[in-house]
């Protein structure tokens, strides 16, 4: 109980209580610069956690490739759905 109160907007997402979620989302930086910097920070966080470790395994790259495959499926579903095996097309 000796910690100073931290403003809601500056907390990390996992430490924000459910009731404060609206305030947290509203206070985030939605300017173009802010959005680009958040993408870059996320990219760096992924790199530092999975790739730039001394004995990085195949998981770091595989997660990226698997998510690329899933995204490509989602993007092309509207086109591919005509190819389902049906008796009458």
């Amino acid at each position: 109980m000796a910690d100073r109160a931290v403003p809601v907007v500056e907390k990390r997402l996992m430490e924000v209580k459910l009731g404060e979620l609206g305030t947290w989302v509203g206070g985030r930086d939605f300017t173009p610069n802010g959005m680009i910097s958040s993408v870059r920070k996320g990219y760096q966080r992924y790199l530092n956690k999975y790739i730039h470790v001394k004995k990085g395994g195949i998981g770091g790259l595989s997660m990226v490739l698997a998510s690329y495959v899933v995204l490509s499926y989602v993007w092309s579903f509207d086109h591919i759905k005509h190819d389902r095996m049906r008796k009458y097309h």
Binding site: I51, S72, Y73
Partner: protein, 227 residues
């Protein structure tokens, strides 16, 4: 509506937005920036060694003046090989099956080699149009033929890459639909086709890498002639 055979080569759209940009940017996202550390992690070490070895290999036959092309050739190779290999994953889109993209790679770079040759050493560059030791009566015909072959080079570069990759993807699609269809009808034949499919996938992996290499190698040869 059953999908035709060539529908896999259509540019993917999502809610009206073309996704070609994401497919083309994908190689850039997969290679992290090299760091200045002496001892890198595994992926950076592998990436560095591949790039440096490839650059050394491709620059061996070239004059010092042509070494300015090192970055371009290496970047082109990395880009092509990653685009080709990513296209072998399921549901992904391969931009290198599109002829305009490959011509966009081939024509400017070929033209650059020709113009460099004509500007720096015009006599030698034009001299390439007549191979040494041709008999005198054949000279006019041969010059015409060599000029035509010079102008066909960019088309050959672009169409070679496009045709190889598109044909490979088409074969994969045909074999897989044949296997799926035969699973009900004649199961042993389906096993046979799936075996052929496995072999074809190995071939496609090789072709993806080799075609990228051939593209860059031929370009470096054209550069070597002209510097």
């Amino acid at each position: 509506m059953i999908l035709g055979l060539f529908d896999q080569f259509f540019t993917p759209y999502f809610a009206g937005i073309p996704l070609l940009a994401i497919a083309i940017i994908a190689p850039w996202l997969l290679f992290p920036t090299p760091s200045n550390r002496v001892v890198n992690d595994r992926s950076l070490a592998a990436q560095n060694s591949f790039i440096l070895n490839f650059a050394k290999q491709i620059l061996l036959p070239l004059n010092v003046g042509a070494h300015k092309w090192a970055l371009l050739l290496t970047a082109l190779m990395i880009n092509l090989i990653t685009l080709n290999l990513l296209g072998l994953l399921p549901y992904t889109f391969t931009p290198t099956t599109q002829l305009p993209l490959n011509m966009g790679f081939a024509i400017p770079l070929w033209l650059a080699t020709v113009l460099i040759g004509l500007r720096n050493q015009p006599t030698i560059a034009l001299g390439h149009l007549l191979p040494e030791g041709t008999p005198a009566p054949l000279v006019p015909v041969l010059i015409i033929i060599e000029t035509i072959s010079l102008f066909v080079r960019p088309f050959a570069l672009g169409v070679r890459l496009t045709a190889n990759l598109a044909a490979g993807h088409l074969l994969i699609q045909l074999l897989s639909s044949a296997t799926l269809f035969l699973l009900d009808q004649m199961f042993p034949v389906a096993i046979l086709t799936s075996l052929v499919m496995a072999l074809l996938t190995i071939l496609e992996l090789a072709v993806a890498a080799i075609q990228a290499y051939v593209f860059v190698l031929l370009l470096s040869l054209y550069l070597q002639e002209n510097t």
